[in-house]
C-alpha cells in the first residue's frame, strides 16, 4: 500500500482509497491546499534527502551591498524583536525606518506572476537546498529551522501560482486570503486550519487580506 505525504503540512493520502495519480489535477491538500505536485511517495524519497553543497559562491554580506528592500526587511525584523521584548518605542522607530526604505525601493518594471514562478523554482531547486547543506555542515539548527519553514512556504506559493494560472481570480473570489504573520504561509479558503500547517502557530496569528490594490 502506497502512502503519499504532503511536503508542506505532512498530510498523508492513503491508497487504496484510490490511486493517487488518478486524483483530479486540480485536487489540493485538504489541510494546507498544496497541489498534487507537492506530495511525495513515502519511504521512497522522491526528493533526495542527501544534501550537497552546490556552490559556496560567496555573495557579500556587507551591508553596503544590501538593497533598500532588504534593509527594510531587516528593520521590520528588528521591530518584531523589539515588540517581543515589549520595547514599543524602539519598535516604532524601526517601523518608520523600514517604511522609509520600502518607499525608496524602486518598483519592479514589466513584471508578472510568471517571473515569480521562475524565482520560486530556483529557490526550491538551488538556493534552499544549498543553504540547508551549508547550515547542516555548520550545525546551525536555527538557520535550518528557518529554511524548513521557508521551503514549505515557498512550495505553497508555487502551488498557489500554479492554481492561479489555471483558475485565475476565481480561485479567491468568494473566499478569504490569509497570511500567517509568523512564517508567511498563505491560506486561500474558508476553513482556516486551527494551527498554521507550516509553523504550527494558532490561527489568530493569521492576517486576513482585505480588499486589494487596483493598480500600483
Amino acid at each position: 500500500m502506497r502512502k503519499f505525504k504532503c511536503t508542506v503540512c505532512g498530510y498523508i493520502v492513503d491508497e487504496p482509497n484510490g490511486v493517487f495519480e488518478d486524483l483530479p489535477s486540480d485536487w489540493v491538500c485538504p489541510i494546507c491546499a498544496a497541489t498534487k505536485e507537492e506530495f511525495e511517495l513515502q519511504n521512497e524519497g522522491l526528493r533526495s534527502k542527501e544534501r550537497k553543497i552546490m556552490s559556496k559562491v560567496e555573495i557579500s554580506s556587507d551591508m553596503k551591498e544590501m538593497s533598500p528592500l532588504e534593509i527594510s526587511a531587516l528593520c521590520t525584523n528588528l521591530a518584531r524583536g523589539c515588540e517581543k521584548q515589549y520595547k514599543l518605542e524602539q519598535a516604532e522607530l524601526f517601523i518608520d525606518l523600514a517604511a522609509y526604505y520600502k518607499k525608496i525601493s524602486p518598483l519592479a518594471e514589466n513584471s508578472n506572476l510568471n517571473d515569480l514562478t521562475a524565482i520560486i523554482e530556483k529557490n526550491l531547486n538551488e538556493d534552499i537546498p544549498n543553504a540547508s547543506a551549508i547550515a547542516s555542515e555548520a550545525k546551525d539548527r536555527g538557520a535550518l529551522r528557518a529554511l524548513v519553514w521557508n521551503e514549505k512556504v515557498t512550495r505553497i506559493l508555487k502551488s498557489i501560482l500554479s492554481r492561479y494560472k489555471k483558475q485565475g481570480g476565481a480561485m479567491f473570489e468568494n473566499t478569504g486570503v490569509y497570511v500567517c504573520t509568523v512564517c508567511g504561509f498563505i491560506y486561500i479558503g474558508d476553513n482556516l486550519p486551527e494551527v498554521c500547517p507550516v509553523c504550527k502557530v494558532p490561527n489568530w496569528k493569521f492576517e486576513k487580506i482585505e480588499g486589494g490594490r487596483a493598480d500600483v
Binding site: E58, I59, S61, M63, K64, S67, E70, A73, L74, N77, L78, R80, G81, C82, Y86, E89, D96, L97, Y100, S105, L107, A108, S111, N112, L113, D115, L116, I119, I120, K122, N123, D127, I128, N130, A131, I134, E137, A138, D140, G142, A143, R145, A146, L147, N150, V153, G169, Y178, V179, T181, G184, F185, I186, W204, E207, I209, G212, R213, A214, V216
Partner: protein, 325 residues
Amino acid sequence: MSEKYAVRNIKLCTKDCLCLYVCPTGATNTENSIIDVAKCTGCGDCADACPSGAISLIPKEYPPQQPKAQAVISAMNTLLRSKSQQEKIAASLPGKLAIAIEKSNRIMAEDLIREAGYMLPQSKNTIEFLKLILVQDQSQEFPKENVEKLLEIFNKEESEKMSNNKTLENLMEAFAGESQANRKYLAYAKKAEKDGKTNVAKLFRAASDAETLHALKHFEVAGKINSTADNLKDGIEGETYEYKEMYPPFIEQAKKEGNNAAVMTFTFAMKAEEVHAKLYQDALNNLDSNQEVFYYLCPVCGNIEKYVPEKCSICNVSGDRFIKY
C-alpha cells in the same frame, strides 16, 4: 541570574486581575495595561498568580547572540535577496493575491535575516548596522533622528551593562587585595611579636582583622555567596584546580630554580588541597546528616584529618600538635 521585570501579553490576558491583588508595588495596575517597569521589582508574584499565563518575566539584559558561520550568513543572504526580489515584483502587481505574496515574502525575508545574525535588536550587529546607515544615507527624507534615537537607547543600555560589570570586576579585585592584606598583616604581626614589638603587633592584628571585614563584605556584595551545597561545590572546584593544575608546574619551576623552600611550601599546599577537596566532597555527600564531625588541622602543612593521627600523613609532624575544630 540577571535582573528581571514582568510584562503582560494583553492578547492572553483574561482580566482575572489576580496580578493586581498580589503586586506589592502596584506596578501591574495601569491605565494602559502595560506593567510599570519603574515600579516592578521583578518578584514574579504576578506571573505565578496569573491564571491565563499572560504575564512573564523577562531579563533586563540579554546574553550575547549565538555566533553565525560566515558561510551560513552568505547562504541566508542569497535567499534573502531572492525573497526581497519577489516582494518587489509582487508589490508592482494588482490584486489580493499580490498583496498576500508580498507580505509572505517579507515575513520569510525577516526570518532569514534573523537567522543571519540579526536576532536581537540590541546586539552589536544591529548597532553597527545603524551606525553604517547613519553615515551612508544622507538623503533628505532619511529619518536620521530615528537612527540617532535608537543608537542613543542602545548605547545607554550597553554602558549601563558595562558599568554593572565593571563594578563587579572592581568588587572582586578589592576582595583579592583585602584578602592578601589580611594575610600579609598577620605575617607582619607574627614577626613583630617575635621581635618584641607588642604594640606594632597589636596594630597589625587589628588591621588584619579590619581587612577581613572589608573582604567579606566585598565578596557578599559581589553576590558570590550561594547555598552551602553550591559553596562546597565551588570549594571542590577551587581546591581541585590548585592541586591538579596550579601547583604541579609551580613545583617543577621551583625545582628548576633550586628553590627548595618553595618546593616544600608548594608541595605541602598541593597535598593539603587534595585532602580539602575530598573533605568538601564528603561534606557535600553528608550535607543532611546530623551526626557531629570533628576536624583536626595540621598547623604545619595545612592537612586536615577527621581523627587525630599519630603523625601528619603529609609533613610527619606529631599528631598531638593538631588543632581541633
